[in-house]
Amino acid sequence: MNLLRALVLNARIRNATIGIIVLLVLSVVPVFNAPPPHVELAAEALLEHGPKWFTNGLLTTILVDLIIILMAVFAVSRMKEIPGAWQNIMEMLVEGMWNLTQSIAGHGSANSRKFFPWVITIFIFVLISNYIGLLPGFGSIGIYHSPAESHAQAELGNQIAMAGAETVAVSAAAEEGKPVLVPLFRSPSADLNMTLALALISVFMTQFFGVQALGMRYFTKFFKNPFKDGMGAVVGFFELIAEISKIISFSFRLFGNIFAGEVVLLVMAFLVTFLLPSIFYGLELFIGFIQALVFMLLTLAFFTMATVSHDDHH
């Protein structure tokens, strides 16, 4: 009874309740229904008859670059001792990352200075890539292609959608003959080329910094004389496999989280047009930040571990 009275008497609660009910009712009105989600695993070529390499993922990567550079330019173009709001935000970002780097790689150490540009660039680039996919228009604005061309790709997308949720097994390509919408933008984090490139950079630079710090001794971590140290040779072999699998874990962790997040948003919008996706947007904002931080911290941790000699343990 109390709850009911509050609903009627408190204007704010009453309005909110009415708003929620109206939105939920509108969600089932066919006019407002979102189209069935179009799930595409790979970044698609934008121009039907243009080059295959010009994908929506690539276009968005360039967009992300421009946004980041503009952010930097606005912060440092009129740099003042007493910072303005934007300068303050960017200083906070750089200083926070610098302190984080130092806390892991050692305060004031040469390693910190060496690792810093790599890890902070990873963080900023991944963060903006993750967030840009959440902007309205991503996945909804695009170019219609004739169905035959992108059939193979769409088929795979269909399978993914099937595996995800039986009820959402409707893909644009499944309806034969209809043109396929190729989105103009695609979050770079949902493009395996980008995540794999970062993973390769991260793992390669780990080896580079390792060799730089320890010389050829670095590789004794992987290769030991099996006649002198049989167990060590086996462990080293597993270390080598672990090192290579880092590439896969790095790239698919980021790709999986962001791609799945976008699919979840699409599915939620398809199920209940209003309200429900908002909750998942909040979740995606959180995941986007965490994934950027995870990629950055793991890279930093691997860099730091690679520069430490392993002979000391024995």
Binding site: L41, A43, K52, D65, A75, V76, E81, P83, N193, L200
Partner: protein, 169 residues
């Protein structure tokens, strides 16, 4: 390769992403990280300097305060001394004046006394002479004749007076 193709991975795109990251890192290093870290360091130094100066200023103020107190204390002490000295001097002068006045008064009194005594003595001598004269004259009258020897007569009267004086006093 077919699987990679389905995942949308192509070596051209991979390479472009790697180059993109490298370029972005170099650009941001020059554009963002270096200036911002320099600015942070600069600001840190400015703040450190400011704090140091504030420390210095407050130290100087404390020193000035201590100096002021010392000077005030010194001045107070000196004033005290001057006052004490003045009091002592005044007392001494008063003492002087008083003793000199006493002395003068004494002198005046002594002189007055001496004068008075001299006068008395003169008057007494005069009186004695007149009395002797009168006595002689009276005696002459009584005896009806002048004593033949005037000198003997005077001696006689003087003896008598001396006798009178001795018994009469």
């Amino acid at each position: 390769m077919d699987a990679l193709d389905k995942l949308g991975i192509s070596w051209q795109l991979l390479l472009s992403q790697i180059i993109n990251f490298g370029l972005l890192m170099v650009i941001l290093q020059q554009l963002l990280y270096k200036p911002v870290l320099n600015m942070l360091e600069q600001r840190r130094q400015r703040i450190a300097e400011g704090l140091e100066q504030a420390d210095k200023a407050s130290n100087a103020a404390a020193e000035a305060e201590a100096e002021k107190q010392a000077i005030l204390e010194e001045a107070r002490r000196e004033a005290q001394e001057v006052r004490a000295q003045a009091t002592r001097d005044a007392e001494r002068i008063a003492q002087d004046v008083r003793s000199r006045a006493d002395q003068e008064a004494q002198e005046i009194r002594m002189k007055a006394q001496a004068d008075a005594e001299a006068q008395t003595a003169a008057v007494m001598a005069d009186a004695r002479r007149q009395i002797a004269d009168l006595a002689i004259a009276a005696t002459e009258q009584i005896l009806g004749r002048e004593l033949a020897d005037r000198d003997e007569q005077e001696r006689f009267v003087a003896d008598y007076l001396a006798q009178q004086n001795g018994s009469g006093s």
